[in-house]
Amino acid sequence: MFQNHAPSSAEPPTDPPVTAGRESLPRLAKGQLHEVHAGGDGWASALAFSLAAIEADDRRPVLLLRVRKDKGRTRAMQMEPCGEGWAPLGLDPARLVIVDARDDAGLLRAGLDAARCAGPAAVLLESWGRLKEYDLVASRRLILAAEQSRIPIVILRGDAEPRASAAHTRWSVSSAPSTPLETRAPGAPALHVELQRRRGGPGGLHWRLEWNEEHGGFREELIEPAQPPLDHPPTLPGAVVSLDALRTREPLRRIA
């Protein structure tokens, strides 16, 4: 999947090359930070997209970090990964390591530790709501760590307004109607993916992805920007701040 756009691991972390107009879906590149926005209903889609689009070695562990309040104190609904459902999407559930942080700050801290570690194939952070600890500084820290360890970091943001951050790409993912089977049964997984922002490239591109049962991997199809789907407002607030992809200056410092 997405072979046509996979930069080789020898390259320095660069933004995906920019070509105007029709282009294939860029992958979630190594050594970069990616934001994926989704609603609660589309959480499975967001996970499936992140795992499929991520540019990673396929034997090393994948870290899934999330927030769990103390057990027993809450009876809120939780979403647990279902191992048997991961395997058909090409991910061995044995590779999954799940880390439950106690709060958002702990999540970002654990995420930073994980990002500094070159061992995992990828680090996924599941967050819900505003995530006020996640700002320019926090995202920049994650990027610096990821550049060192050369692994992709994905921050999944559920039911959240986009915020200013240093992330390389920002995506919005939702389920898309599938191609029905003959028996009027739901077909293979289908997603609607929007690349909202991208550092050093045009945003606002839409794709429809459909799982290819025969070969594995998603088949992509660019949707003309003229017809965005109804449930997605064409523009969203919050800008990805333009920073150099290759760091040539001093690291970003907080200015009081």
Partner: protein, 476 residues
């Protein structure tokens, strides 16, 4: 009818054979090595259990270690014996009889024992004899092969005394050097040394200071130094630590303890140091030197085998695995072990029970069974399943419309049902009608906006008066 005895059964090729029998069976013509079918025909109510040689060896090892209480020199004599050198120990327990009584009580098994001046003699007496006279022992005590033993018996030599009175050279020529060596050992003419268990010396290190150490950073430096020394000791013994305990002794007799555990055996002082720093961070009050530390000691409480590793050019993969293990250790120390977990499959029927989360530190990754031709499972399971209001045809139709979190979803496509029965075999009275719990009918549905859900009806019409519907999973 004789009282039923017990036996351990092991598979030998195609046949099941008795591996060992207990005292209750011995009078009934059963012997070890007999096939189970023969044994059953002689003794129909034989109670059998599978033979587990590994557990036997482990138990013998445990017993040998327990015998350290009586003498420092204990040697296991596989498969089922122990040799204790009690020279100079008996008087501590009030004489030899009392010592034997206590040893047998500590062992807790039916046991035979013998005391003799040499290990070989005591062993032969315990296994083959009854009295104290080694010359009265049968020739079987030499533990030669069956044809040599029958050769001895045919020559009219039945006891070791008969053999001892004959010239050794002739015996050696006819029955081999081993026979003579064993005979001389039993008779005490040759030495029969034992190789006792050597309990490993625990790794404990301590540094005492002439003046109390008043800075936490200095204390940490000392701990790192101790860890480096411990690493050298462990390197020599090819060990790695799994549990480390640091005990700091403050001048005012407060003794803060720092304990860390790792998922894999480690020696690297820096790795343990990182964990200790994490542990210090999670303490409710930071490590307060107060009036200063008088002494700092380090103990490696649990060790495991860890061979030295040569750093190779191609060790990248191992490094990666190591770094993930180190990360798991750190996060486990910071968040608690049960918060860093892996998914493992479980052999259960209900979807939410078919997997479990286990601490990643304790469990290595397990391989999941290959996805077979089963209907697909969702990517995420909702825990607990969410009750939804549903409009559906009766009795066996997929839902047409449902309401979840106040939103109405029109079902466009549906697949099912996949019927998953309750686990009646796990419930008391589950085999009785109505006692098993509700059968679930799962449907994979897609709503008008393209979202795919896994929804089930708990209970069949006719089984339950008013079956409820639940949302149980999300598909991508």
């Amino acid at each position: 009818m004789p009282e039923a005895g017990g036996a351990l059964v092991a598979r030998d090729g195609q046949a099941l054979r008795l591996a060992a029998i207990d005292a209750g069976t011995q009078g009934q013509g059963l012997t070890a090595g007999m096939t189970l079918a023969d044994a059953r025909s002689r003794c129909p109510d034989l109670v059998t259990a599978p033979h587990d040689p590994v557990a036997d060896a482990r138990e013998l090892d445990r017993l040998a270690n327990a015998m350290i209480a009586f003498t420092p020199l204990v040697a296991p004599d596989p498969l089922d014996g122990l040799l204790l050198d009690v020279t100079g120990c008996a008087h501590l327990f009030g004489g030899e009889e009392e010592l034997v009584r206590r040893v047998l009580a500590a062992a807790g098994y039916t046991a035979r024992h013998a005391l003799a001046a040499h290990a070989a003699a005591a062993r032969a007496l315990a296994r083959y004899g009854s009295g104290e006279d080694v010359r009265a022992l049968p020739v079987a005590a030499l533990e030669l092969s069956e044809d040599k033993l029958s050769g001895l018996r045919r020559a009219g030599l039945t006891t070791l005394g008969d053999l001892a009175s004959r010239p050794m050279a002739g015996l050696a020529a006819r029955f081999g050097e081993t026979a003579v060596m064993r005979l001389r050992a039993i008779l005490g003419e040759a030495g029969s040394p034992i190789t006792p268990l050597r309990p490993a010396e625990p790794i404990r290190l301590e540094t005492r200071f002439p003046e109390p150490l008043a800075r936490t950073d200095d204390a940490l430096d000392v701990i790192e130094d101790l860890l480096a020394q411990a690493a050298r000791i462990m390197e020599q013994r090819q060990l790695g630590g799994r549990r480390f305990l640091v005990l700091l002794q403050r001048s005012d007799n407060v003794r803060p303890r720092l304990a860390v555990e790792t998922g894999q055996p480690v020696r690297d002082p820096a790795a343990v140091m990182r964990l200790l720093r994490e542990r210090i961070d999670t303490l409710s009050d930071p490590l307060d030197p107060g009036y200063g530390f008088d002494a700092i000691s380090l103990a490696v409480l649990t060790v495991e085998h860890l061979p030295s590793r040569q750093m190779g050019l191609e060790s990248r993969k191992e490094e990666n695995e190591d770094s993930v293990a180190a990360l798991v250790d750190r996060l486990s120390v910071r968040l608690g072990e049960d918060r860093v977990s892996r998914l493992v499959p479980r052999d259960r029927h209900l979807p939410e029970r078919a997997q479990g989360l286990v601490p990643a530190k304790q469990a290595p990754p397990v391989s999941w069974p290959k996805a077979d031709e089963r209907p697909t499972r969702p990517l995420l399971l909702l825990d607990p399943p969410q009750p939804v209001d549903v409009i559906a045809g009766v009795p066996d139709s997929p839902p047409q419309r449902f309401r979840w979190r106040g939103r109405l979803h029109d079902v466009r496509l549906a697949e099912g049902p996949e019927r998953i029965g309750a686990e009646w075999w796990r419930r008391r009275g589950g085999h009785l009608p109505g006692g098993a719990g509700d059968t679930r009918d799962y449907y994979r549905i897609e709503d008008a906006e393209g979202r795919r859900y896994w929804i089930f009806r708990s209970g069949l019409f006719g089984e339950t008066p008013d079956p409820r519907w639940y949302l149980h999973g999300l598909f991508p």
